[in-house]
Assembly symmetry: C2
Homo-oligomer: 131 residues x 2
Amino acid sequence: METMDFNKDLIAASSTPIVLAILAKKDSYGYAIIKRVQELSGGRMEWTDGMLYPVLHRLERLGYVEARWEVAGSGRRRKYYRITSRGKAHLTDERRQWQAVDATLRGIWKALSIFIPVGTAAFATPLPQGA
Amino acid sequence: METMDFNKDLIAASSTPIVLAILAKKDSYGYAIIKRVQELSGGRMEWTDGMLYPVLHRLERLGYVEARWEVAGSGRRRKYYRITSRGKAHLTDERRQWQAVDATLRGIWKALSIFIPVGTAAFATPLPQGA
DNA sequence: CAATATACATAGAAGTGTTAGGTATGTCAA
DNA sequence: TTGACATACCTAACACTTCTATGTATATTG
């Protein structure tokens, strides 16, 4: 699957829930999160580190995640992030918001599909969900 | 249904596709678009005019819509917007992007639902779709 | 005559990604 | 030894967008 270009605002809207959801599953660190997003999106999304690190710092400042330094077996320093209970609560809320907007959008699109064809089926390729 | 508060970036990400989709169905003007979004979201979304007008001006500047003045039977001036073919193409693209991100998010959430309960069923209330 | 709904518009503040740059270490091949 | 590459973190200037507040004007209703 080719990399897609995403609108800046769509990146902004999805970065927080995606990061929090990844961390809710398992503690992780910046570089690995970028790779994980790549996997989860089936190769569609390519995050830049210049985008992600400020996001992580913001989430930490807001108390949604906590950071700790670790040294990997490889010898490299990694900053691991863990989601807090506040972070989990926020994730639930963001999810609710996203789904409300999504339902609205799908409703309008459905009404349109008579006039404007959908074009490529965006999800013929199933997304991988393994650990 | 109560009004929900939406994250600023989520508003930013959804405003363009929502406006274009509404206009793809039928020409409309600012004030009516705000009311329409209210309807389409089942009362969840409340857009402010201070947000919408700059959006409409931007869409016009980008060539996605065209504006014309009309005077309603009521005597009030209205600025009607019509979607262009470029606007339709852009709408299709935005829709593809949204659905790609949505599929990714739903994938992560699904993997999480074992650990974090969904909470309220966000869509027990069906959304209205009438013209 | 006042209040409300309709209808448009703009300005400053605050927050965000993009792009570009910087630092440092480990692995691998030439 | 050297160079290239992946790993791993961080920050800054810039452009863009919403939010909040404010302003203008007209029609309807009580």
